[in-house]
């Protein structure tokens, strides 16, 4: 059976818990002198990145290498894509070279889903347009569980550009599965159409939500995806929706501050907050490698995948 990780909604509670528990054990590998396991020896993972990414691409590459898989990095820039090759031809070409899995990032929402119908191997969505980024949601959930000891019942507030955020969508879906209560906070212009049917509450008032939050996840305003102005000015956005030193004092003692990166210091998050004791930003990066190792192991490590959606 061929299986993929295209959406956070592909994961049942058992799947998601299996990924988090597996990541917990794999985390120990990152603390060893020999940070390598023989598990995926002889398997080939293609990193197919049509959109700029440092963090995610490096993280997937490191995860695959720590499991001894061979990694092919493919960026759209300087490739046949710039000569007019289609996504399908590119994917089939890479598969003809013997890849077992494709990790795909694309600016089109749904590109990895298309890919999964064309190729024989497993597809992992590493971020598609404004749609989903399931491994980010998994690493965020992993970070919450490590810091706070649980996910069920947590009050998670996601603040910022929900409209363009694949991180927000994947987090809402996964956190729903894992039993957390999610509140989205954003200016009305940065909320997607149909947000009322998402399994989350919506608020426009950050100050009212903060004291009740266990987790505050700040999102970057994705100005590269914006044609027109969605808010009057950076300063006004920052004043209403930015997490500054004053707002952090409203948080409960144990509350944590998360950011999927890249962050714009001084806009959605103050530098003092980003570097503060509540901040999990660097932990999220480190946890990303363990979580992606877990996903690759569970998809590729056996005779058939243990998680994900059937194709």
């Amino acid at each position: 059976m061929k299986r993929h990780l295209l959406s956070a909604a592909d994961l049942t509670l058992e799947d998601a818990t299996l990924v988090l528990d597996t990541a917990e054990e794999l985390e120990k590998v990152s603390e060893r002198t020999v940070k390598k396991l023989p598990t995926l020896r002889g398997r080939t993972v293609v990193n197919l990145f049509f959109e700029d990414s440092t963090r995610t691409k490096t993280s997937f590459e490191l995860a695959a290498k720590r499991l001894s898989a061979d990694v092919i990095n493919f960026s759209a820039k300087g490739s046949s894509v710039s000569k007019g090759e289609t996504l399908k031809d590119t994917a089939l070409t890479l598969e003809a070279m013997g890849s077992d899995a494709v990790v795909c990032r694309h600016s089109w929402s749904g590109a990895p889903a298309n890919l999964s119908r064309w190729i024989r191997g497993s597809v992992v969505n590493a971020g598609d347009g404004t749609h989903e980024h399931p491994t980010q949601a998994l690493l965020d959930a992993f970070t919450m569980r490590r810091r706070l000891g649980r996910i069920e019942g947590l009050k998670v507030t996601i603040v910022g550009d929900i409209l363009h955020s694949r991180v927000a969508r994947s987090n809402v879906l996964l956190l729903k599965t894992l039993g957390a209560d999610v509140t989205l906070v954003a200016p009305p212009t940065l909320l997607p159409v149909g947000v009322e049917v998402w399994p989350a509450q919506v608020s426009y008032d950050l100050d009212a939500v903060l004291p009740k939050s266990d987790v505050v996840m700040m999102l970057r305003v994705q100005r590269e995806r914006m044609g027109a102005a969605y808010f009057p000015s950076v300063r006004e956005y920052s004043r209403r929706y930015g997490l500054d030193v004053r707002r952090v004092t409203a948080l409960s003692d144990d509350a944590i501050v998360m950011h999927p990166g890249p962050m714009v210091r001084g806009m959605e998050i103050a530098p003092e907050v980003a570097d503060g004791v509540r901040s999990t930003i660097m932990e999220q990066v480190a946890n990303g490698v363990s979580v992606r190792m877990a996903v690759l192991y569970l998809l590729l490590g056996g005779s058939e995948p243990a998680i994900g959606s059937d194709s």
Partner: protein, 202 residues
Amino acid sequence: MTAAHRPRPVTGDPAAARPVLQGPDITRVVDRMAHELLEKTGGGGDVVLLGIPTRGITLARRLAARIAAFEGLTVPTGSLDITLYRDDLRLKSPRALEATDVPADGIDGKLIVLVDDVLFSGRSVRAALDALADLGRPRAVQLAVLVDRGHRELPIRADYVGKNIPTSLRETVHVMLTEDDGRDAVLLGPADLGRLDKAGQA
């Protein structure tokens, strides 16, 4: 982790399984193994006991407890999960991982005694040796098993054996320990599973 304390299902007809060792037998066997270990390691000074999940961990703890009772010596114990080093990974769906917990002092220069419940093909021990090599460089590695049922497929032997049980390839060996299964017993049953699904595979 998730599977750590799951009782091993006794497959097939439990009534057909024949007890080879029961309650007090296992206690006496573990006592003897603890004495042998102390004798062969010259007092157990630099010994670290690493159990292979699940019942190997329980046995390692029991051995450590007996050594403490006999000699007043605290032997560090830990666990070593071999899942990611197995040579049959690709024959089954990926399995949940068990805990690997190595004592804080590490394994460099130590005398590692691997502890498992059943020694069979030797493939688990091969995987454990590979896993150990990635964790450090022990002074030496020894192997302690509660049951050696024969049928080795690799050049591996145990240093401490609780009981040698001659078996046919079609039979299954179930080790049950009170901490994991509610009672102490070693059951020898008729085979009802394929060669690769055998209980107590080792």
